[in-house]
């Protein structure tokens, strides 16, 4: 069997490209062939993805479209006679970008407008979460193929040093790193004076990183660290040193960092948006309150209670088990072979 993966864009650190690479490794294990192409390719990805024009499927092949951004050039793929499977990774609503990056806002707006049309023209439609699938009227879910091997074994002791809050995700408006910076400032002013914040993620644009750095310098000087382009070993070290993963994102299709934190044994506090409630289930403390004082106190409750952390750790391990490679791979295979 040949499965060709088609992406709207391929980048060095984005979740969709990583997922396509993981799927390809799985296909090779199964003895399947095919090629991976993308409409836009970041020069840093190397040769893992070819240009869209290199797509040359035979009549019995399957095309797996990973949809995560507006890509008008993918429309030509829909005209091909081969069986087409669309996997939605979700597109962020444009409302988060209009004021900050008009080009991304337009792409998001058009991407969300285009997605139902693409779904209607594919033979099978699924999402990486039930949230994503439901947006397209589907109940087919093939979750993220989560491979924690690079993160090492779950940690055996609490991290030493000052309490460090961690968030992993692109520096973009809807991820609300601005709120996380305010949160760390509030924590430092209200009972946790040496709390630190580590923000791991590629900046949407250099100016956005500078704006967040300025905010960090103004509200919590020396307490906020920005890191990007990390190797998996460096990312593992950040998780190992974290007392808490805090996610105040306003939109997430799946949120892989939750599983990464669960694997390492880092307690999680998160907003219950998008795919987060189904991924976290009962293993994270979900908080919809807009008041950062409540978020800060929730963080303190976790930091002060080892028994609570122990319960969350055990539940997190169960979530990692739920997303184990074997069952997810079987769901993917069933989806592609049906």
């Amino acid at each position: 069997m040949n499965v060709h993966q088609v992406l709207s864009g391929a980048g060095p650190h984005d979740a969709v490209s990583n997922q396509a690479r993981a799927f390809r490794a799985l296909f090779e294990e199964w003895g399947w062939g095919g090629a991976d192409v993308a409409a836009g390719i970041d020069p840093r990805v190397g040769k893992a993805f070819g240009p869209l024009g290199a797509l040359d499927p035979a009549s019995g092949d399957t095309l797996l479209l990973h949809y995560s951004a507006y890509a008008p050039r993918l429309r030509a793929v829909l005209d091909r006679p081969q069986r087409k499977v669309l996997l939605s990774h979700n597109v962020t609503p444009a409302r988060w970008f209009w004021d900050y990056e008009p080009r991304i806002a337009i792409q998001c707006a058009l991407g969300r407008q285009q997605l139902p049309e693409y779904a209607a023209r594919c033979d099978v439609v699924a999402g990486v979460s039930a949230f994503n699938a439901a947006e397209l009227g589907s109940d087919r879910v093939v979750p993220i193929l989560f491979d924690p091997a690079g993160l090492g074994a779950p940690r055996l002791s609490e991290p030493a040093g000052p309490p460090t809050l961690l968030f992993v995700g692109r520096l973009a408006p809807h991820k609300r790193q601005d709120e996380l910076i305010r949160l760390i400032a509030l924590l430092r002013d209200n009972g946790v004076p040496d709390a630190r914040l580590v923000l791991v993620g590629e900046p949407m644009k250099p100016w956005y990183l500078e704006e967040l750095e300025r905010l960090g310098d103004a509200l919590a000087p020396g307490a906020v660290t920005f890191r990007s382009g990390l190797t998996v070993e460096e990312l593992a070290a950040e998780y190992a040193a974290a007392a808490l993963l805090v996610c105040l994102s306003e939109h997430e299709g799946f949120c892989i960092p939750l599983l990464e934190a669960f694997h390492v044994g880092v307690p999680v506090v998160a907003r219950p948006v998008g795919g987060i409630p189904e991924v976290a289930d009962d293993a994270a403390l979900l908080i919809a309150d807009g008041d950062l004082a409540v978020v800060a106190e929730l963080c303190r409750v976790v930091l002060e209670n080892a028994a609570l952390r122990g319960t969350l750790r055990a539940r997190g391990a169960a979530r990692v088990e739920h997303y184990a490679r074997g069952p997810v791979a079987a769901r993917l295979r069933a989806l592609l072979q049906e």
Binding site: H174, G191, L215, G265, D282, D291
Partner: protein
């Protein structure tokens, strides 16, 4: 750890908790506990509001905002290379922009003229609709 710092509790220690921790809230009780603590802290004068850069989503774009966006003023400093050691490429791209500034100036002026006139038409239509609705309502 810093003296009196609650977050330091347990740091560096083997996982598993201790008997003294058993009285802590369960995950299901944690949020209620946090809300109560936040309310008490606020009542005691804690948690002052913080200003600075704050993200605000936009659902409805008003005419004033559209007017502002209609005027094209591309920022040359955003033109850069994402490649490793891309500084010479960035320099080349910006030099190219500089050479082509006359052409781009013409292009942005024409597009801005169109945008502005279109917005004026939209504003006039909005006024007209409002007037007609008011007349109809009388």
């Amino acid at each position: 750890m810093t003296a009196g710092q609650p977050a330091g509790e347990g740091a560096g220690r083997t996982l598993g908790g201790s008997p003294g921790d058993a009285a802590g809230p369960t995950p299901e009780e944690a949020l209620a506990a946090a809300r109560a603590r936040a309310a008490a802290a606020r009542a005691a004068g804690g948690y002052a509001d913080l200003g600075g850069f704050r993200i605000a989503p936009k659902d409805r774009i008003g005419t004033d905002q559209l007017m502002e966006w209609a005027v094209l003023e591309p920022d040359e400093s955003t033109m850069r290379s994402t490649r490793r050691l891309g500084a010479p490429i960035t320099y080349f791209k910006r030099a190219l922009l500089h050479v082509l500034r006359q052409y781009h100036g013409e292009l942005t002026a024409e597009q801005t003229r169109f945008n502005m006139h279109l917005l004026v038409h939209v504003a006039e239509l909005e006024d007209r609709i409002a007037r007609l609705e008011a007349e109809r309502g009388r």
